[in-house]
């Protein structure tokens, strides 16, 4: 009897088991990211971070992202006008086109799309680079040289990521509005001057720009921490690096939308 039962295959984990495992994993990630945030803040407040690494990362993350931000922002502005075109035509609301495009772009589309773009380009790259450094013992080599990896590698990346996303959102907003203005002119015969008047008629305020920029900073902090956390937690060689990159992209995208909801709700 006992021999027969010992030969039985182990029961497969149930739904609750899977759910619990998933929740534990989420708690572990959130805890890891929070600890990393405190470590980064402690280096930041004591100015214990590497300036050259900061400049290198600003160039790599910021300057090299300019072409993709330009292209996507210009077309995003155009797409907003295409979507608004039927309503604008039906109600002859050409004068409101500038306000509508500005409201949507500055508060929502600008920060959201820029964050999603940088999540794929910068966040994934960051995780892959750090993960490879873990797998090839380069992080241990830094520690063996008595160099703090948080101050040398992580803090500059977090600062560069947040700065890049903030500035990229700022010029993505401007470019999207530029794209929207000229798409409006091409598709709806709305003069750029009329579009500009709609933007500055008083319906839009600086706080609309501010909301978008606050979002970009919040997204930047979470995305940089997620990409660094997953990079530093890599286990299991090259497949582990692949899994970490995947986890970063998924967590960043999910995090961006959840945080967007809460920031939109509270501001």
């Amino acid at each position: 009897m006992s021999a027969a039962s010992s030969a039985d295959p182990a029961p497969s984990p149930g739904l609750l088991h899977g759910l619990g495992e998933g929740l534990l994993e989420m708690a572990q990630t959130a805890g890891g990211m929070t600890l990393l945030l405190f470590k980064v803040l402690s280096r930041l407040l004591r100015l214990q971070f590497d300036r050259q690494e900061l400049m290198r990362n600003l160039y790599k993350m910021g300057v090299k992202s300019i072409p993709i931000v330009i292209v996507t922002s210009l077309f995003t502005g155009g797409i907003m006008v295409i979507q608004a075109a039927p309503i604008v035509k039906r109600y002859a609301a050409q004068g409101l086109l500038g306000w509508a495009a500005g409201f949507g772009t500055l508060r929502e589309i600008g920060p959201l799309l820029t964050a999603l773009m940088l999540s794929g380009r910068v966040g994934a790259n960051n995780t892959a680079e750090l993960g490879t450094m873990v797998v090839t013992e380069q992080i241990d080599a830094l520690r063996a040289l008595a160099i703090d990896p948080i101050g040398f590698l992580i803090t500059p990346r977090v600062i560069a990521f947040v700065t890049t996303l903030f500035l990229a959102t700022l010029y993505a907003d401007a470019l999207a509005l530029f794209g929207a203005a000229y798409a409006g002119y091409g598709l709806l015969d709305v003069e750029p001057r009329v579009f500009y008047n709609g933007l500055t008629s008083g319906l839009l305020t600086l706080s609309d720009v501010g909301v978008g920029l606050v979002k970009s900073v919040v997204f930047g902090i979470v995305m940089s921490l997620a990409s660094c956390h997953y990079g530093l937690s890599v286990q299991g060689g090259a497949p582990g690096v692949g899994r970490a990159v995947n986890a970063t992209v998924v967590a960043s995208a999910a995090g961006i939308f959840v945080l967007d909801y809460f920031v939109s709700f509270s501001l």
């Binding site: 241990d140 520690r143 063996a144 040289l145 008595a146």
Partner: protein, 247 residues
């Protein structure tokens, strides 16, 4: 002097070190040998806090360092450099930038001063002409020599070499051996070398410890190892496939 006292370490259910004790004297070239997976690299990583023992103590110049936190470990790491098995040069930096990094970080040198010092150190390991190359453009032996130059930048009293001649051609391997011996003879650096390379072991070692099944099998000189009748040690040092040794 470095002392390991009853050091124990497990990874999950696998017990790797089961109470290892020995001393390393100042200025000697000390080899740690043993089969793959016996815990040689694990043991030396404990000395600089890359791993922490489950039990036991490690003393460096009379100070117990095995419970130091990361911040207290930094002075230990400056005194005790490590050359990793796979060199672990930073991919995003050229060879000279790799060597300049600790000079700028710890010696407060300017870019110009660090570059001049790093060039001198690369010359010592015959890598000056490759100074501006990136690690990915170099062979294993070249990377290893740059890693040695980088490890020596802080003028350490102790250097830990993790399989320094593995994957090197015989000529490069003997050059690395020569460098390790020279460090001990001319500068008085104490070298702890983890190795399987029998030629290295029997040409430059002052003393050798063999780990087997998580414990010290024999500690002695080259002559002690050659003369011991222990069949396991004889199988290992003669590189025989057949014998009582369990791997």
């Amino acid at each position: 002097m470095i002392s390991f006292r009853n050091v124990k370490k497990s990874f999950g259910p696998k017990s790797v070190l089961k109470g290892v004790s020995f001393d390393v004297q100042d200025g000697e070239v000390f080899f740690i040998i043993g089969a793959s997976g016996v815990g040689k690299s694990v043991l030396i990583k404990h000395l600089i806090g890359l791993l922490y023992p489950d039990d036991g103590e490690i003393y460096l110049d009379g100070e117990e360092v095995s419970r130091f936190d990361e911040a207290r470990m930094y002075p230990v790491r400056k005194k005790c450099a490590m050359v990793f098995q796979h060199s672990t040069l930073f991919d995003s930096m050229s060879c000279i930038e790799n060597v300049m990094l600790p000079l700028k970080k710890h010696k407060g040198m300017t870019d110009k001063e660090a570059r001049a010092d790093a060039l001198q150190r690369l010359t010592q390991v015959h890598m000056r002409e490759f100074a501006d190359r990136f690690p990915s453009e170099l062979g294993d032996g070249m990377r290893k020599r740059v890693a040695i130059a980088r490890a020596l930048t802080l003028d350490p009293s102790y250097v830990l070499f993790d399989e320094p001649t593995t994957s090197l051609d015989p000529v490069s391997a003997r050059r690395v051996d020569h460098l390790i011996r020279e460090l001990s003879d001319t500068v008085g650096v104490t070298s702890i070398v983890v190795s399987h390379d029998l030629v290295s072991i029997f040409s430059i070692a002052d003393r050798i410890v063999m780990l087997y099944q998580g414990q010290v099998k024999l500690l002695g000189t080259k002559a002690d190892f050659r003369s011991t009748p222990d069949p396991i040690i004889q199988q290992f040092i003669n590189g025989r496939a057949e014998g009582p040794m369990e791997t």
